[in-house]
Amino acid sequence: MQDHTTEQELKDRLSLIENMIAEGRRDTESWGWVFVLWGVDYYFALAWSAWNHSAWAWPITILVAVVITVVVASSKAGNHPRTTMGRAIGCIWIALGISMFLLFLALGLSGRLTDQHLFFAVIAAILGMANGASALILRWKIQLACAAAWWVAAVATCFGTDAQSMIVILAAIFLCQIVFGVYGVIADAQGRRGRGPVHA
């Protein structure tokens, strides 16, 4: 009996090790809210830019979104461990934020932000790249679909009228930021995880 109990205890220890290692690897950040935040931010930037063609519309709104993201993410940092994959994904989006801020600031101040089609194509292509890289690392089909939508938008916005290109970009933002972000928030709240973790 004692040998059996000891053997069972050892098996439990082995089980404990496997479960705890899996727990650590499985636990991920909840980033659905970031997608929604940035979707709203893009809409705000578009509205401001359309209202008075200000060169500061995009740099300021992106900076505000970056600050909010950093502050909220930092306050939630203790709730989740740092993993190599999480750090890799985070770096993709940090690089995206820096690129967008510098690019739009320079284009705005230099007065070269005149071609709406080109501007939207660049935004869509950059977002497609970031979503695509993230989706490929995480092997997450839904995010890959978002990346594909951004790539389609990047191509489509090069053609047609100004109004048509605006509609394309507004639709892409709605699908790939708002809808995708809300899906992420709901999935996290229900404790469900898709094929991969939710990362911005």
Partner: protein, 111 residues
């Protein structure tokens, strides 16, 4: 020692000893959790193990004293944060513990 059919003395294979620092259930859980991540905060470890602050702190201190865990304390947005990560020695100790477990269990865990 056992005697075989011909009376020859056969010695029992030496059973591995389990590292007592790693063997503690909560300490084992902590090392295993940390093995799967780069680093983790005290509150996350507490949530995963459902241990009390005092007990968790005591076990983490034992692991730190054994050199299996490293601690980093810092402030993030003026809030104190205590971060833990497993060391190479801790990873090695966990690996050896698992190997010892498997050796002790032997045929009991083979498919």
């Amino acid at each position: 020692m056992r005697r075989g059919a011909e009376g020859a003395v056969r010695s029992m294979p030496e059973l591995p000893e389990l590292n007592p620092v790693v063997h503690g259930r909560l300490r084992l859980a902590l090392l295993s959790l940390l093995a799967g991540v780069e680093q983790a905060e005290f509150t996350w470890l507490r949530a995963k193990t459902e241990a009390t602050d005092g007990n968790l702190g005591a076990q983490l201190l034992k692991l730190e004293e054994a050199g299996y865990v490293a601690v980093e304390k810092k402030f993030v947005l003026r809030k104190p944060q205590t971060l833990y990560r497993i060391t190479e020695a801790g990873r090695q100790a966990l690996t050896e513990y698992v190997q010892a477990l498997k050796q002790l269990l032997g045929p009991a865990i083979e498919p």
